[in-house]
């Protein structure tokens, strides 16, 4: 448990920030962050350090959870069985998450710019430039070769720079 707590402490801020850039509702952020770590607990036996770092593995789970979240939202389904959804957030916790969401506004603005890029390029730039993953970690998350990712990063930054210049 202590080992997993260390894993949690080392990564929870980055994972939560991933959702803070996407969600305005503190409850959603907390739920999705919690779901990511619940999934990590349940699938930890399948984690292979030879295939990537823990951080990359967690981001892979987070991306998957968010994709599921979008799918459920698109279908208007009620989000049930959430770990945190069972109890509403305490006021001080909600306030803290709201502050964190607010702190991610620059990241959200950049991601709005990313929207003009391909989905893969968006992911590449977010993971490397916003989430702070190494190119190797980001490549692991996106399941592409590190060299391919580096090329993608270079090109995506160029496209984004061009977009910003044109604006």
């Amino acid at each position: 448990m202590e080992e997993f707590e260390r894993l949690y402490r080392d990564n929870v801020s980055a994972i939560s920030a991933f959702f803070e850039r996407r969600c305005r509702d503190p409850q959603e952020v907390a739920d999705l962050t919690s779901e990511t770590f619940v999934e990590a607990i349940r699938s930890f036996a399948g984690f292979d350090p030879r295939r990537g770092t823990v951080r990359a593995w967690l981001f892979g789970i987070a991306r998957h959870r968010y994709a599921q979240h979008c799918e459920r939202s698109a279908h208007g389904r009620e989000l049930t069985k959430r770990v945190r959804g069972v109890h509403p957030l305490a006021d001080d916790v909600r306030d803290e998450i709201e502050s964190r969401i607010d702190a991610q506004r620059v990241g959200r603005l950049l991601m709005e710019r990313y929207a003009r890029l391909s989905e893969l390029d968006q992911s590449v730039l977010e993971l490397v430039d916003l989430a702070g993953l190494t190119p190797t970690e980001a490549a692991s998350v996106l399941e592409i070769a590190p060299t391919t990712l580096r090329v993608r990063v270079f090109r995506a930054r160029g496209r984004l720079r061009k977009e910003l210049t044109n604006d």
Binding site: E2, E3, S16, F37, V38, F44, A90, D92
Partner: protein
């Protein structure tokens, strides 16, 4: 920097997935760290020759709780999982012990506020061996007539259950918002109250227990200690 949000999220993960976390295949754990604020065990002495309640956080394979009456009339309570509080309280009630375990909870309402005073003291049986880390917490100022022993359970920094104990004549809250360890070993319970769905915990009536009838102000003591074992 401590994040209330991240701490609360971790607490909830542990509460809801304790068994899965315990079963995770991890490298051999490092020696347990000493919890910063709360101990993993509490020893409560309710009076001369009266109840001693021992609450300990222990190994992941140990039972969730244990309530044992000792030869000297004291009662030992071991709590390793917050989910076992209801079972512990049922057992205490069955034994007629005027002690109630409650817990911290973010869902707990912010009023009313109850203050439980606990003074530092040594816990009987404290050990400093590698497999048993003990923290001495408190000794009660006095045992008041009709008082109920409150044991507030929370999760310590290392993920183990920790309890702080005191006495109160007020209704025992079903949960408390926050515990603060003050200078001198006093414990301040902040924002005690009840969750939306439940009321105060019902303690056994005075006079129904050995503890309440044998408590004296001169010899009564309350000791809280933190224990983590690897049995």
């Amino acid at each position: 920097m401590t994040s209330r949000y991240e701490d609360a999220l971790w607490d909830e993960l542990v509460d809801n997935h304790h068994d899965e976390l315990a079963d995770l295949r991890m490298p051999p754990p490092a020696p347990r760290r000493r919890p910063k604020a709360l101990a993993g065990a509490t020893v409560l002495t309710a009076g001369a020759g009266a109840a001693v309640i021992v609450i300990s956080a222990s190994s992941t394979t140990a039972p969730a709780y244990a309530v044992t009456r000792n030869p000297n009339g004291s009662v030992s309570v071991t709590l390793r999982r917050l989910s076992a509080i209801a079972d512990v309280n049922a057992r205490l009630k069955a034994l007629g012990v005027r002690a109630v375990v409650t817990r911290t909870g973010s869902e707990c309402s912010s009023v009313p506020t109850t203050i439980v005073r606990v003074s530092p003291s040594s816990a009987p049986g404290d050990s400093s061996s590698a497999e048993r880390v003990t923290q001495t917490i408190a000794r009660a100022d006095s045992t008041r007539s009709g008082a109920v022993h409150i044991l507030v359970a929370s999760r310590s920094a290392d993920g183990h259950v920790a309890l702080v104990q005191g006495q109160s004549n007020a209704p025992v809250p079903a949960c408390v918002r926050e515990i603060r360890i003050l200078a001198g070993g006093q414990v301040k319970i902040i924002g005690s109250g009840t969750p939306e769905s439940s009321g105060p915990v019902q303690a056994p009536a005075p006079g129904t227990t050995n503890e309440s009838t044998t408590s004296t102000s001169s010899n009564s003591s309350t000791t809280a200690a933190g224990t983590a074992t690897t049995s």
